[in-house]
Symmetry: C2
Subunit: 137 residues, 2 copies
C-alpha cells in the first residue's frame, strides 16, 4: 500500500490505475497542472472524460484545488495543507513565471490580510504573483 493508495483510501475513493496515475503526475510536478497537461501525460491510460471526472472528484475531496489565474486557464494543484471535502485552506500565494510559464504553489507564503472598504466581509483570499521563478532568473 503506497502513498497514493493511502490518499485515495483516506478519501473513500476506489483505488484505480487512472487515479494513481494522476496523483503521480501531481506529485512529480512542483507546479500546477492544466487539464491538457494531464491528458497529454496520462492520455494513453485514460480517457479525456475520465480526466475531467477525476479532477472534479479530487477537488471535491480536497485532494487538489483550482489555482486562480490571471488569464482564463484552469489549473489544479495539490492541497498540501489539510483540506477536507471541498473546504480548502488554500491560503498560500501562487507564483506564475513569465519565462517558463510554470505555476508554482508557494506553500510557505501566506496571503496577507488587507483592509477592505466598510461593508465588505472577507472570507477567503487568493493571491497570484507573476515574475521570474528561481529556475529562470
Amino acid at each position: 500500500m503506497n502513498t497514493f493508495s493511502e490518499i485515495l483510501k483516506r478519501n473513500s475513493l476506489s483505488i484505480t490505475d487512472g487515479r494513481i496515475k494522476i496523483l503521480e503526475l501531481f506529485y512529480a510536478s512542483d507546479g500546477a497542472l492544466a487539464h491538457a497537461d494531464i491528458e497529454k501525460n496520462a492520455g494513453l491510460v485514460l480517457d479525456r472524460v475520465t480526466v475531467y471526472r477525476t479532477l472534479q472528484t479530487f477537488v471535491e475531496k480536497g485532494i487538489i484545488h483550482q489555482v486562480p489565474t490571471t488569464d482564463n486557464s484552469v489549473l489544479y494543484a495539490l492541497c498540501r495543507q489539510n483540506c477536507a471535502n471541498g473546504h480548502h485552506h488554500d491560503n498560500h500565494v501562487h507564483f506564475v513565471c513569465n519565462q517558463c510559464q510554470e505555476t508554482v504553489c508557494l506553500d510557505d507564503v501566506t496571503v496577507p490580510a488587507v483592509k477592505l472598504p466598510a461593508g465588505f466581509k472577507p472570507i477567503q483570499s487568493a493571491m497570484i504573483v507573476t515574475g521570474l521563478c528561481n529556475n529562470c532568473k
Copy 2:
C-alpha cells in the same frame, strides 16, 4: 463628442455603435463582466463574434483588463488606472461576493507586497478576496 468616443479615439479605434454599447455596459457596472453578461445586454445590437473581438481589442489597448478568478470563469473590468497598450497596472484587489456572485474592483485597495522565497523575482501581483459584499451583508 462624449466620453466613450474619446476613449476610442484616444486608442486609435473607430467609433462604432457596438464599441460604445460595450463601454456603456462597463461604465454602468461597478463590477466585472463576463462575456455572457455583455452578450445578453448587447446581443440585440451585436453579434457574439463581435463581442469576442471587441473584448480582445479592448484588452490589447488597455481599456479593460482580464480579472483573475478562482474558478475558471473569464471576467473583464475597466482599467481605471493608466494602462496603455496591454501594459496593465492592475494592482488593486478584486472582491467576489459569495452571495450575489458579483465581482467588484476595489480600486482603492492595493495588493500588498509579499516576501517571496529566494530566487523569485516578482513583477506583478493580483489578489482576489471572496466573502460578502456591502450589498449582501
